[in-house]
Subunit: 349 residues, 2 copies
């Protein structure tokens, strides 16, 4: 990318060239070295000299170029956060936790929103190879990334957040206890008297999704039919509509959706088919996004500590990345919590 290829159009105010450390040094009649030390305090400077330098710094509005500083230092104090969709409340909370942790450690955070687009993801992962960021918190929520990650994982500071990538061991990972979440839901529905359920999962190859489903089956103990979705509201809607169309009568009395969004899609589809929640069918989500408690009926769901996942992953990562180290494998499992609300009840019959 070339700066100003055709010349700046007339009338544009150009950013005036900022003062450099040399300018300050010249104006204060000292060496750049001294200016640097006045500002950093890394070695003693005569008070008189220091005062003179500071005055020039103020007058010229000098601020050290962080770019040059980083080049010399070998690190940037910037960390990336790769997520599929910031407008999904779960990832927004995760991002908030990541940003907080980064800020606390003196880091800035680059938002890498991929929209599930592999090309976009590639471009962002490139930032770590070009050493523009010191590390990457990876929360892609989409499976195809494995190959790309494999090459990076051993050589660069990367942390997995929320989602472990199947086949990729040896990573630093912070995740909610998906399996426990699944078990909580299974227990809850079983205790209510449900015996046959429809499970709407996330994409194949996502460990979180698998873990939830497996915990659920284990605790539910009844019949479970599975349908594979993609975490979007539309897919929840479609899967349930298809399911209803496929069979004469709905034999499942409960639906366990892979996330709240899909649960809402499912509820919409049920409504359109004339089925009431929870009277005819109980529905459970996962995540406990804000909407869950405000919607009607309020959604029974599993609260995932999105903020903590983001915060933990970032804090752990930076502990290593800040020293130029690749984090060793370690797992941080955060507790989840069942939120029983109004979308689940005993089966009608």
């Amino acid at each position: 990318m070339t700066r100003d290829p055709g010349g700046t159009p007339p009338g544009w105010r150009s950013v005036r060239k900022p003062a450099s450390i040399k300018d300050v040094a010249a104006a204060a009649d000292v060496s750049p070295t001294t200016v640097s030390h006045v500002l950093s305090g890394r070695r003693p400077v005569a008070e008189e000299t220091a005062a003179r330098v500071r005055s020039v710094v103020n007058r010229l509005g000098y601020v050290p170029a962080s770019l040059a500083r980083s080049l010399q230092a070998g690190f940037t104090s910037v960390v990336g956060l790769l997520i599929p969709d910031i407008s999904n409340a779960f990832f927004a909370d995760l991002a908030k936790g990541a940003e907080d942790a980064a800020h606390d450690l003196g880091y800035s955070l680059i938002l890498c929103n991929t929209e599930f687009d592999p090309e976009r993801e590639d471009r962002y992962l490139g930032m770590i190879r070009s050493r523009f960021i010191d590390g990457m918190v990876y929360a892609a929520g989409s499976p195809p990334s494995r190959q790309r990650l494999e090459a990076l994982l051993g050589s660069f500071p990367i942390a997995l957040a929320d989602e472990e990538v199947e086949g990729l061991e040896g990573a630093l990972i912070a995740t909610a206890d998906h399996e426990a979440g699944g078990r909580f839901v299974g227990n809850h529905l079983r205790e209510l008297g449900h015996r046959r359920a429809l499970a709407l999962t996330g994409p194949r190859g996502l460990k979180s999704s698998t873990a939830r489903a497996s915990g659920f089956r284990q605790a539910f103990r009844g019949d479970v039919v599975e349908r594979i979705g993609d975490f979007k509201e539309s897919s929840g809607h479609r899967l349930v509509a298809e399911f209803l169309a496929e069979q004469r009568n709905l034999d499942a009395t409960a639906i366990f959706a892979a996330n709240d969004l899909m649960a809402f899609g499912a509820i919409a589809a049920l409504r359109e088919a004339g089925l009431a929640v929870p009277r005819d069918v109980s529905v459970v989500g996962f995540d406990d996004i804000r909407v869950a408690s405000l919607s009607s009926p309020a959604l029974t769901t599993v609260r995932q500590p999105a903020y903590d996942v983001g915060r933990t992953a970032t804090a752990q990562l930076l502990q290593y990345a800040a020293r130029g180290a690749v984090p060793p494998a370690s797992r941080h499992t955060l507790p989840v919590e069942l939120q029983v609300r109004d979308s689940t009840a005993q089966p009608a019959r």
Copy 2:
């Protein structure tokens, strides 16, 4: 900040030192210049030479250090987005628009989440002075920032998103049509038959809030009592609770909240006081965040094009910032839309 002050603990895998352009040049038996040109294509290179270089590049996994490139080029292709709270759906959507625009133009986006904390805001604004970012999209949603901004606005590429800062003219700004939104609400309530309303505003000094209120008054034409809040759910709750406590009987039949969050707070407070929405009181919000359509009752509100505001502000800003120019004053007003749902009805009287 010093890298690795105490020496890296034993057992830590350090990031191996990446290949530089010199390493590649040496291994391919050419000059760094040639390597540079093979990669950039900015001048012809003999196919044989180029092939050799490319092979070495692959073998060493060489990726140009973007830091050094930026230092030499004088710009970073990074833009900042300053917002108060990414977990607020409005700002999450705005961020998504900003990120999309940035990505389309080859930029990365640094998320500056301030939590309304002036110190944090200062730190982030410093990034623009240290030239780590080429520009800043400013959507602080909080008034105190004026002084800080003033110094920057004329000299650095900054765009205001959603919120203009009172007293700061001459800026590039993209905003929703707040006044029209207020008018829409005023008309709607008047047409329903309301004559006396409570307006819950945002913080003093926010032009968006003022504009909404003024549009509202103008179109409503009835009595309006104003209470000042801070855009948070809790403040909506508190203001309404206080309002109810202050007077014997609730004489307002409608509430216009400065945003959806405050509207939900208001509804909660009304419920606690035994008042039903919309039977006893109509409530209108602003923003149309996702919850608004899913809550019960579904909230009548004004849809703000958050994504477009973020996208427009960023795209416009980068048009200048990418060429090292300060954007001239210009205003981009985006249309809003009244969403009539179930939280408004004729007054009971």
